[in-house]
Symmetry: C2
Subunit: 408 residues, 2 copies
């Protein structure tokens, strides 16, 4: 389904500061008890920037500040991020606090306020502990190399159990362009971006409006195709900065390497999306649902997201139960164009439903397959050529435990 | 919000056979290991009938047979129900099996096939064990009184822990009209009728088309406003039979007592809906969400359903965590018309959010409140006069356990 570009290479030591001209830092400022909770990402020069944000009507203050900042000139040079407190539903004071975070960071770096974005994640509705923030910002010392990036990626986490990083290199106009990303997420992850923060850096030269178009098209097929629990948060954003230091001719849809750039960005976002799904609260398994034969790609993704979001499918995968009936039922209520008698379902490589009816399969083999850490479910609805993927995780006792006592 | 009609009285010994001219039975025929799994409800005379069915595109054979039966003359005299096997995704054989169940029951009662409805609930995709059914049907001996009704209501259960029954009496034209209902449901319950069966009997005289209109209007505000896990099943139906033996003048929208009849039917359906929500798989608490101030009733119900369906809200209630931020976030992603700064939220009688911002409250008092078996959440969005209710349950370890191993 996807064109393969051999020039795209995943790089090891994949860190948010790997493109030319980026530095990162992270530390503990006291919002959380012990873990790091304040992070800063900086480009040496103002970068063209784009962002996509939660569709929740209730939007947190930092998100509004970041939107406004990018809207001003399409550029961003730094982003200050805290975890432990979402600064959401905090009214005028919350907005003032987000502005203070922006202003202090700008002062510290000697740049204009509107070049600084702000992101927050954590508990909703509690005032931001500004003493901690004010104490922390001056101590942030962004650096090139792995150390600063690791600190950054760890400082943005909440209930995540691992940090999420990826980076790719690709040749454009004979120049090496790097795209790197880091993300956090865990609970409240759903299509349309929920309690998920994603930061992407690149040294590619590209105008803000094209960067925005690229990001939007890729996010729909990656971050917006993951789900943990169907909840959509107030704070989610994915921002990308492109500082142009790679020296390529400015990318645009008419550039011969536009497709390969898009594909590289897709790899970065898909990697991060899958890492988020796999690290869903309490998850023990990554579930990938691939749908083909829908009337178009949008409906294919919609079916895939419905299946991967079904609590009954998620608990069945957790319990290694080859309960294809639940998969079929979820396909049925996805709202997509369907003929119930034309549906094919595969668990791993084993066909379990054909033409809408069960076919004999080895239950033992399937149970063994369902014990793997990455489970693939394939659905072909035989209505057209639409294709789509979605990712999620199983639903476990630990999800309940984590969320029954998040604040306490 | 609701007109109170003092003439409507809930009756004790509330059972599906309490209206004049109904008999019921239930027994164990061997689909399940030990528990009752076959049930029959019969009216002495053909009753006007109406049904509402799952919106899932994948629909089980018995549902198609029942739809077709009622469509023929608008009447039904009996319904045969089994639990333990849903007869869904079973292809042509499944359809033939549902027809055999219909035909055998009709033969047994000496009535025409099209007067018999069929309902099934249980595992999807396994052939119906027709030996059990064929052995069971001749042994069903429908009777008036409590015994047959209890057997019926217990034989239709799957993972339910209690049977669900209610009945009301009301005077219409100086005649006593009784409406009674029984239902099953537990997992896979969602707005738009999911793995839920509801059977309602009345001795009222009313034409099929008016009965259908009454049922539809009431179901939207009751059965379709409950959610356990957001999944929608292949088998759900609510059917109502009205045999006219109460002797009232035929009810219709122009009858002076139409509103009181509707209200009585609403009580029956609301009682059953709440019982289903409260008995959701693994549930320890009933959650009622009441929304006011929406731009219309439909949006109010939509907000209420979104809040009561949020896994994060459900786990917070389970954990007695007054996490109003999750309630606010769910309101925010409901898709309804909102001003984030105008939202009021109450947990029980305690206001926790006003004008979109938290207000001080006693955490200890709220924790005590959240330990109750019935939790009320109120949301006023201050946009208009729309009002709506929805019901659900908390999300617990037991939900995961039940669904991780349903088939095995």
């Amino acid at each position: 389904m996807t064109t393969v570009y051999p020039s795209i290479k995943r790089i090891s030591g994949n860190n948010i500061a790997s493109p030319i001209g980026y530095r990162a830092a992270g530390l503990h400022c006291g919002i959380k008890h012990k873990k790091n909770d304040l992070a800063l990402l900086v480009s040496d020069v103002p970068a063209n920037a784009a962002g996509v944000y939660t569709t929740n009507v209730v939007q947190a203050a930092p998100l509004l500040v970041t939107k406004e900042a990018i809207a001003k000139t399409g550029k961003m040079q730094a982003i200050i991020v805290n975890s432990g407190n979402a600064n959401a539903c905090t009214g005028k004071q919350g907005f003032a606090d987000a502005r203070t975070m922006q202003n202090m960071t700008a002062q510290q770096l000697g740049i204009e306020d509107h070049l600084v974005g702000v992101a927050s994640t954590g508990v909703i509705g509690e005032k931001m502990p500004m003493d901690c923030i004010k104490n922390g910002i001056p101590r942030l010392e962004p650096a090139v190399g792995l150390k600063g990036s690791i600190d950054f990626s760890q400082s943005i986490l909440t209930t995540d159990t691992v940090s999420k990083n990826t980076a790719y290199r690709v040749d454009i106009d004979g120049k090496t362009v790097t795209i790197a990303g880091t993300a956090k997420g865990s609970g409240m992850i759903h299509p349309n971006m929920a309690t998920m923060l994603g930061f992407i850096t690149t040294d590619a030269a590209i105008e803000s409006k094209d960067l925005h178009a690229a990001l939007t098209s890729v996010v729909d097929r990656t971050f917006n195709s993951i789900t943990v629990d169907g909840d959509t948060s107030t704070n989610d954003m994915v921002v990308v900065m492109a500082n142009g230091l790679a020296g390529n001719n400015t990318l645009s849809p008419s550039h011969p390497d536009w497709a390969v750039f898009l594909q590289t960005l897709l790899h970065v976002c898909e990697d991060l999306g899958k890492m988020i799904a796999k690290d869903g609260e309490g998850a023990t398994k990554l579930i990938e649902v691939e749908v083909s034969g829908a009337i178009n790609d949008t409906e294919a993704r919609s079916i895939a997201k419905t299946v991967v979001g079904s609590p009954l499918v998620k608990t069945a995968v957790f319990g290694c139960d080859a309960n294809w009936g639940r998969i079929l039922a979820a396909v049925g209520y996805s709202g997509a164009t369907l003929d119930p008698n034309a549906i094919l379902i595969q668990i791993g490589s084993m066909t379990v439903v054909e033409a809408g009816e069960p076919v004999p399969f080895s239950e033992d083999e399937l149970i063994e397959y369902l014990k793997q850490p990455e489970i693939k479910l394939k659905v072909d609805v035989h209505q057209g050529n639409g294709h789509g993927l979605a990712w999620g995780c199983d639903l476990t006792y630990d999800y309940v435990q984590i969320n029954a006592s998040y604040r306490t």
